[in-house]
């Protein structure tokens, strides 16, 4: 009876371990190509190559509208807007691409290059969280999340294993995995927080007066130009209260700025 019970334990552990990994392995899933968007992607690229930038822009937006928000599509959209001489929208879409493909070298280059063309001298907004968790911005929220899911699954699988068997090696393994769990968990928390509170927006108009109040007859405090990234504190009756990194604040018509973060279909709607 005892031998049968031990045999059963192995079987139980194996099944539970498989379930533990299987759930998140299936959910994280290897990437698969959505063939529905390949053709419009190629057609939009072809239009771009032939110089029909407006047509390319329409094509990329159609892909985004299907729910497939790819960083590369935003990148191409940024390129198309740049070629169509809309610096503000180019930077807006490059910033959106950076949230999805933060390590893309082409994107880094293009964003740096387009930023160098902004007329306003505005510094980057960084805080203690960016300095402390400097690696967090090199990964997008999805990557960090699934990394955490993987480490989480590994940790609980080890703990599950240790319920039945307690070799010494599993103790040290559990310690290491716990450390990884804390690291990925913290990174996830930081990324999630940053994504949730991201209120940055980009000035789209070639030039806009920033007013002291939400009225056209109010005093003009300063002037901003296309491509400048500012914080959007709130929107009231068609006016947006914006803030610069040096804490200068003022009101602009809400139509001349657009938030970098926009709600898309899918997961983490609250965070997004």
């Amino acid at each position: 009876m005892t031998g049968g019970w031990i045999h059963n334990r192995y079987r139980v552990v194996a099944i539970l371990a498989l379930l533990a990994f299987g759930s998140f392995a299936e959910a994280s899933g290897a990437g698969h190509r959505d063939e529905r968007i390949e053709e419009p992607f190629f057609k939009a690229n072809q239009a771009f190559k032939e110089g029909h930038f407006e047509e390319a822009i329409d094509g990329y937006y159609r892909i985004i509208a299907t729910g497939h928000e790819s960083g590369h599509v935003y990148y191409n959209l940024g390129n198309a807007y740049y070629r169509a001489n809309e610096l503000g929208r180019a930077i807006l879409n490059f910033e959106r691409a950076r949230r999805l493909i933060p390590r893309d070298a082409d994107l880094d280059f293009n964003l740096d290059y387009t930023r160098s063309q902004i007329k306003d001298a505005v510094s980057d907004t960084t805080d203690w969280m960016d300095s402390t968790f400097f690696w967090a911005k090199r990964f997008n929220l999805g990557e960090v999340f699934w990394a955490f899911v993987l480490v989480n699954g590994l940790l609980w699988t080890l703990l599950l294993f240790r319920l039945f068997f307690k070799p010494e090696s599993t103790f040290y393994m559990t310690l290491v995995v716990t450390g990884m769990w804390l690291l990925t968990g913290t990174t996830l928390g930081v990324n999630w927080y940053k994504t949730a509170i991201d209120s940055r927006c980009v000035v789209l108009a070639p030039e806009v007066d920033v007013m002291a109040g939400p009225e056209t007859k109010d005093t003009v405090l300063f002037r901003l130009h296309a491509g400048t990234v500012v914080e959007n504190e709130r929107v009231e009756e068609g006016w947006a209260l914006i803030r610069l990194p040096d804490n200068k604040r003022g009101w602009v018509p809400s139509g001349v700025v657009e938030n970098i973060k926009h709600v898309g279909p899918g997961f983490c709607r609250d965070a997004l």
């Binding site: 539970l16 379930l19 533990a20 759930s23 998140f24 959910a27 994280s28 899933g29 990437g31 698969h32 190509r33 959505d34 968007i37 390949e38 053709e39 992607f41 190629f42 057609k43 690229n45 072809q46 771009f48 497939h68 928000e69 790819s70 960083g71 590369h72 599509v73 990148y75 191409n76 390129n79 198309a80 740049y82 999805l100 493909i101 082409d106 280059f109 293009n110 290059y113 997008n140 929220l141 999805g142 999340f145 699934w146 899911v149 989480n152 699954g153 940790l155 609980w156 699988t157 703990l159 599950l160 319920l163 039945f164 898309g264 279909p265 899918g266 997961f267 983490c268 709607r269 997004l272």
Partner: protein, 601 residues
């Protein structure tokens, strides 16, 4: 002398004034005879000519109505206007009225024109009649032509079905014309379509200079056979300045006379034949003319997942609408995306020409070399009267891995397949020793991403919130479930003896309360109790066994002895046949078992 001259002038002046002032009473002053005459400017005309008819009313300056002229049924009549005049001859004043008409014959023959009847002051006056002979328009080939004539020609009098022919109508003129309108022949089975706008230029015909108005049409036959293209007709007003001086008052000598003219060209016989069957391909599209096809593939080397563009352009002249949409066959390991064909059609005085551009995006899915199949189509070349097939050149598309990049290696492969590495000194020989700093000559953004593989990278939110929560909390839940079930199992194993023990005593108590209790049943129940309570497997129970077991399990000697005595008494009852007489023994048994339960370990 002087006085006589002045007197003569004064008289003439007075007469002139009198003629003007007293005009209403001229009918009294002038001769009272009214006469009507009819005249034609020509006695013989062709069907293309126009004759001028004049009805003159002499002796009157008005008529009650327009003249009624007989014999005009066989003509197209156009009014040439009305004029009146006054003549003063030797002091005699005469007046008159003229009605002009232009007659265009509709058929050949000899016709009587007139007489004309005119009513003047209620009295009817008749004119004379005139004869007009109408003959066919003579052939114009090689003959000296008039100052105005019309020709029509066709590019070929023999053609194939759906072959585009050029029908040209030319008006030659040496005089001014206005109000020009053209009537094309209507032929069943032939479709006329104007090519471009008409043109006007100076040209020579039989050595004479003419202003030529030219209009071209494409003609396409929809069935085979022989067609008679009737003459084209052109109507216009021809203006020819009058060569005769006139002294008639109130008639502007500088106005040119405008006559309506109707011209006809020649008729043409056209023979249309069907396309030959010999040499005709099964998939022949019906295209006739002359065509060529160009194709390009760019780039010819791509990375896996990136696209190359195959562009095919068909251009030519003929029935361009029949140009087929070429279909690229399926190529293994290559995805193809066809673009909408772009068609441009032009028409000029030589016919219809056009270009059709078709594009395909080719995306290789794996590394390798891919043969792009040729695209072909056939057409009927009118010049050589043969079917021709044209095809695109054969292209090779190379797909390299996404990680590798085409580049140049220092080593070179020999024919035997080994690699020869150049000597280091050899390789570096000739390199400049002075290095230059790299100067930035320009800046621009990097190009777009084109690989479909990059679309594989899923964005945030793959799977949905439920899946993500499951993935996150699933392992935790599993661990919790496993830990909980283990704990419960452990607990139940630990508690098993106590549980079993409790159950045994409880079970014995229930059994001992049965109404039909007998001595052997009690012994049996005690045996079962001991088995369950102490995990034994006793078959038969004797009194001594019972005492021994009780003592071993920690029960006091007294209780063990009591148990032995109880069992013994039950045995006595059984062996003496009084097993049914166990009235209170059930209660005793329960009490005894309770004590055993409490005392046992």
């Amino acid at each position: 002398m002087k006085k006589e001259f002045i007197k003569k002038i004064a008289v003439r002046f007075a007469v002139l004034v009198a003629a003007i002032v007293v005009m209403p009473i001229e009918s009294v002053c002038v001769a009272a005879d009214i006469s009507v005459s009819l005249s034609l400017d020509q006695a013989k005309v062709t069907t293309a000519d126009t004759a001028k008819l004049v009805v003159s009313v002499t002796g009157g300056r008005h008529s009650d109505s327009d003249p009624n002229i007989q014999g005009l049924d066989v003509f197209r009549v156009t009014s040439g206007g009305t004029s009146s005049h006054i003549e003063i001859v030797n002091g005699q004043v005469t007046s008159g009225l003229e009605y002009s008409y232009f007659l265009q014959p509709v058929r050949t023959g000899t016709f009587q024109v007139g007489p004309a009847q005119v009513v003047v002051d209620g009295k009817t006056y008749r004119s004379n009649a005139a004869t007009l002979a109408v003959i066919d328009t003579p052939s114009s080939v090689g003959a000296k032509r008039e100052i105005l004539f019309l020709t029509s020609t066709i590019s070929s009098k023999t053609a194939y079905l759906e072959q585009e022919l050029i029908y040209t109508v030319k008006l030659y003129r040496q005089i001014r014309i206005t109000d020009v309108s053209l009537e094309l022949p209507e032929v069943k089975g032939l479709t006329f379509k104007q090519l471009g706008k008409h043109s006007e230029y100076q040209g020579l015909y039989n050595g004479e200079s003419y202003t030529i108005l030219e209009v071209t049409y494409s003609v396409v036959a929809s069935k085979d056979g022989v067609f008679a293209i009737s003459p084209a007709s052109m109507s216009m007003t021809a203006h020819q300045a009058s060569r005769q001086p006139t002294w008639r008052l109130f008639e502007d000598p500088f106005l040119s006379l405008g006559r309506p003219v109707r011209l006809s060209s020649e008729s043409i016989e056209l023979k249309i034949k069907s396309l030959p069957q010999v040499g005709r391909a099964a998939d022949f599209s019906g295209l006739l003319g002359h065509f060529k096809m160009e194709a390009t593939l760019e780039p010819q080397e791509v990375r896996v997942g990136e696209s190359a563009t195959l562009t095919v352009k068909i251009s030519g002249r003929g029935n361009f609408a029949r140009t087929p949409d070429l279909e690229l066959p399926e190529i293994r390991q290559i995805k193809t995306y066809a673009d909408q064909p772009v068609v441009r059609v032009n028409t000029d005085n030589q016919g219809t020409s056009g270009t059709k551009t078709m594009k395909w995006a080719l995306v290789p899915e794996r590394e390798g070399q891919y043969q792009i199949p040729q695209l072909k189509f056939s057409y009927f070349d009118i010049a050589s009267e043969q079917y021709r097939e044209i095809a695109t050149p054969s292209f090779l598309l190379a797909a390299v891995g996404s990680g590798s990049a085409a580049g140049y290696s220092i080593g070179a492969a020999t024919g035997a397949g080994t690699t020869r590495t150049m000597d280091a000194g050899q390789h570096l020989a000739g390199r400049p020793s002075q290095k230059e700093a790299i100067r930035e000559l320009g800046r621009d953004i990097l190009p777009i991403h084109t690989s479909a593989r990059q679309l594989e990278e899923r964005p945030i939110g793959f799977g949905g919130t439920v899946v993500c929560l499951l993935a996150l909390l699933g392992p935790v839940g599993l661990y919790a479930a496993a830990a909980l079930s283990m704990r419960m199992r452990h607990k139940s194993v630990k508690l098993m003896p106590a549980t079993k023990s409790k159950k045994a005593a409880k079970r014995f108590a229930q059994r001992s309360m049965e109404p039909d209790l007998t001595a052997d049943k009690i012994v049996l129940y005690v045996r079962d109790y001991l088995n369950e309570r102490f995990f034994l497997s006793l078959g038969a129970l004797t009194s001594d066994d019972a005492r021994q077991i009780a003592e071993q399990k920690g029960v006091t000697v007294k209780t063990a002895e009591e148990l032995r005595g109880f069992i013994k008494s039950l045995e006595d009852l059984i062996y003496t046949g009084k097993g049914d007489e166990v009235s209170n023994m059930g209660t005793s048994a329960r009490e005894l078992v309770d004590r055993i339960h409490k005392e046992a370990r």
